[in-house]
Subunit: 217 residues, 2 copies
């Protein structure tokens, strides 16, 4: 593997970028590792060390130029140009994702959405029409899609992932509550709100007298 930058560093860069975008919006011209760190709850040394993996972007005594550092981070993350993405699953979640303006604002364009349910195929979501999942392989190749989001039930997610990969997709964001098995060269990230909630409840106290009853199984 020719990539020496730790994965955990890469995963922090988008947060730095997000903070910089907000500063830029507010017209701020320069910032410092200290200020960034305070905003993000990270030590300033960590930020400097992370950035040092890629070059020297700051000026001693001054700090970082917001706009310049932002450009550099975009270059590093390869998000200067638009990426097309496909969404699989046109349920409530799929709808919310297709309609989410944040993708476009941050250089991701939802180019197509698929569903396997014949009743959903053809219905419009925003400016798109739901396409038939049986056409997915072909359409992915046509559109040269490299990134996809899985928003189907857990039981179908593995099959969908395999189909996506066969269609040329190299990065998958999986909303289905299941760990997927993918080749090493395919990137995968998971979003599961319940998992996030469950790691917080560990730290909570059960104070309430009347505990709410569990769902019967």
């Amino acid at each position: 593997m020719p990539n020496s930058v730790p994965n955990i560093v890469i995963h922090r860069l988008p947060f730095y970028l997000r903070a910089l975008e907000m500063m830029a919006e507010n017209g701020q011209v320069v910032t410092s590792s200290q200020e960034l760190g305070d905003r993000l709850g990270i030590s300033s040394a960590q930020i400097r060390k992370d950035l040092s993996h890629f070059g020297e972007f700051g000026k001693q005594g001054t700090g970082y130029e917001v706009d310049y550092l932002r450009q550099q981070l975009r270059r590093i993350l390869k998000i200067e140009a638009l990426w097309g993405i496909a969404i699989v699953g046109a349920g409530d979640l799929g709808h919310a994702l297709v309609n989410y303006a944040g993708f476009r604002e941050r250089n991701f364009l939802v180019e197509t959405v698929f569903d396997m349910d014949p009743k959903k195929v053809g219905t419009p979501i925003g400016s798109l029409k739901v396409e038939d999942q049986s056409q997915m392989l072909q359409r992915l190749k046509e559109l040269d899609i490299k990134i996809a989001i899985i928003a189907v039930p857990a039981r179908n997610a593995q099959t969908v992932a395999e189909l996506l990969i066969e269609g040329g997709v190299r990065a998958i964001l999986n909303y289905a509550p299941i760990t997927l098995n993918v080749p090493d060269e395919v990137c995968i990230e998971y979003i599961d709100p319940v998992i996030a909630l469950q790691s917080m409840t560990y730290y909570l106290e059960r104070e309430s007298m009347e505990q709410k009853r569990a769902v019967s199984e």
Copy 2:
């Protein structure tokens, strides 16, 4: 801090639980650290070490009883009984979250949803009605809500978080694309699909001849 178990360990437990739930659904009675690890892409030693923080749950030569380990993990994560949650923001995302069956299936109950837009207040989502955000403080206390999900635009998220905390909320799942400033004793987790996408693009190649144009700023 009386809690010696590393945070990173706590964050893996829900994944173990999720895999166990699936095994239980399939009628599987016993499993092993090896099998769990294979499913989750984690080493078996890691799983054994993680579990050892809390006790001895397996039998040498046999492995773990799926049902027993599942119960234990639920106990450790304090999710044996139902937790009530509040959702703030009744946009597309808020709708999808309120309608998401996965919360209820995994012992979280969406008890209320708020929005600040008078036009949305009173409209039904599933079996709930959108409540006015100005009533939030009072309602949170009435319902004794400890967990909330923020699904409002970034510019309002900090204010909403502060209000939630004042209302007694101790754990926040934030979907707004901004890092929030909260007291140490409040748990916070973030979900931002764009951040997830951006850490994957780093690993992708820009192969396509015709790069898609960036959104003009």
